[in-house]
């Protein structure tokens, strides 16, 4: 099967692929950072004492998780300009990916936090640590260690979801495959090359995850 592939064309398009590979990398990285931040905030709101904040976070998380990412992407791409909010495509794409993954991260982090025994939180309260000091020093470091695996899983989903950005004409890996296909009518070459690059990103994330897991994970007794 491999000999049937036209490697000459793939090589010819390699500069485009590398450029788009870089674009997928930084778009995903930016969205990932944003999503973790949004996830932490949404999770803090959901676990807060305030009825209003809880409700807001709940509406956000539920509405994201119950609708397809493509619909969300089109909402931002077509909907916001009609409200008079204009942004470059890549900003729209990063916002959509950030808000989408943010909802999932909120739930992952919440599961991690709720796995912490309430006794530790009481110990923090008793020694006079403020809410933010407890969050920063006692609560957040633990789910960050415990939830490396699900966080990585969501990061991989995010990278793959970034392929949808090709539909709003952002130059990224899937778009590169589409271009090769439409220029030369070689969908096999076009999308296999795209897939190979996604595989590279997947392995990069996997190596990072096992490295950080070794550093962050600890065991809890009792």
């Amino acid at each position: 099967m491999l000999e049937a592939l036209n490697f000459r064309v793939i090589l010819e398009y390699m500069p485009l692929y590398l450029q788009c590979f870089a674009a997928t990398l930084w778009l995903s990285a930016l969205s990932l950072l944003g999503a973790i931040l949004v996830g932490i905030i949404a999770c803090a709101m959901r676990l807060s004492q305030s009825w209003f904040l809880k409700r807001m976070a709940g509406i956000y998380i539920e509405s994201i998780r119950s609708t397809p990412l493509l619909a969300q992407l089109y909402f931002f791409y077509f909907g916001l300009p009609s409200l008079g909010i204009m942004m470059p495509e890549w900003v729209t794409g990063v916002i959509a990916l950030t808000l989408n993954s943010g909802a999932y991260y909120a739930e992952i982090i919440r599961a991690g936090i709720q796995a912490i025994s309430y006794g530790q939180i009481e110990a923090g309260i008793s020694s006079g640590l403020s809410y933010f000091q407890r969050m920063r020093n006692i609560i957040l470091p633990q789910p960050l260690g415990m939830t490396i695996r699900p966080m990585l899983g969501q990061a991989i989903v995010l990278v793959k979801d970034s392929s949808l950005l090709s539909l709003i004409s952002i130059m990224e890996l899937t778009r590169a495959g589409q271009m090769l296909t439409s220029d030369r009518f070689m969908p096999t070459e076009g999308f296999l090359t795209t897939a190979a690059f996604y595989l590279v990103i997947y392995y990069m994330l996997k190596v990072f995850s096992s490295w950080s897991e070794k550093r962050l994970v600890f065991q809890e007794t009792h």
């Binding site: 025994s117 006794g119 530790q120 009481e122 110990a123 923090g124 309260i125 008793s126 020694s127 006079g128 640590l129 403020s130 000091q133 020093n137 006692i138 470091p141 633990q142 260690g145 600890f218 065991q219 809890e220 007794t221 009792h222």
Partner: protein, 242 residues
């Protein structure tokens, strides 16, 4: 140092503390005992407002804990609390467990806090376990780290909520020894425990609770040899005969 005046507390419909009146003087060691569900843990958890009270006055170190508007952070920093289940932070070493509050709450420099943490861990006999994580320590050692963690805030009061109940019998002694030395050094302590040997040796008074009420308050020798109430007699016979 601690003063309860007509304190009442409910969990929903359940009346858990009924008209509590007691004063604890500075330097005094008070042991609180009673059957399970009698409200003794709730009583000491109210002191640093881990549980809020609904009625009455509760004054700790001249600060009104019953006042909803008061900033508890300052009061809590003056009160060490030791839990039945240790509640150490599992992602921190013994030393880090003891220094986090001095650094964050007292704004102490890290080197200074480390020095203090080492001193307190040495005091509880754990100088060779300073860099161990809680998971690497036995129950008795974990509880001693928890005591050192409380002491590092240089508190005016130490509260103990059944500190030895989760421990294997052979580890109870090491924790009680630390508590006894604290008591003899003049720390104000309230201890919920059934360790009657400890009560006899170091307590100034024993508070006996049942069904949310303080039933008896007496020096340990009087309470153990001559309880004034039937409930007290029944409780003592049930814990001393097994």
């Amino acid at each position: 140092m601690i003063s309860f005046k007509s304190v009442n507390k409910w969990f929903g419909d359940l009346h858990v503390l009924k008209d509590i009146n007691i004063e604890v003087a500075s330097g005094e060691v008070v042991v609180v005992c009673g059957p399970s569900g009698s409200g003794k843990s709730t009583l000491i958890r109210c002191i640093n407002r881990l549980e809020p009270i609904q009625e009455g006055e509760l004054v700790v170190d001249e600060m009104a804990v019953h006042d909803k508007k008061i900033n508890m952070t300052k009061i809590r920093a003056e009160i060490g609390f030791v839990f039945q289940s240790f509640n150490l932070y599992p992602h921190m070493t013994a030393l880090q467990n003891t220094t986090i509050a001095p650094i964050k709450v007292r704004k102490m420099k890290k080197e200074e806090a480390d020095k203090l943490g080492r001193k307190m861990l040495t005091r509880v006999g754990l100088e060779d376990r300073i860099d161990h994580y809680p998971a690497q320590l036995s129950g008795g050692q974990q509880q001693r780290v928890a005591i050192a963690r409380g002491l590092c805030m240089q508190p005016k009061i130490m509260l103990f909520d059944e500190p030895t109940s989760a421990l294997d019998p052979e580890m109870i002694g090491e924790v009680l020894d630390v508590m006894k030395s604290l008591a003899t050094e003049g720390m104000t302590m309230m201890v919920v425990t059934h360790e009657m040997g400890f009560a006899r040796e170091v307590a100034n008074r024993v508070v006996f609770m049942d069904e949310g009420k303080i039933v008896e308050v007496a020096p340990p020798n009087d309470f153990f040899t001559n309880p004034q109430t039937d409930r007290g007699k029944y409780f003592l016979s049930s814990i001393l005969t097994h």
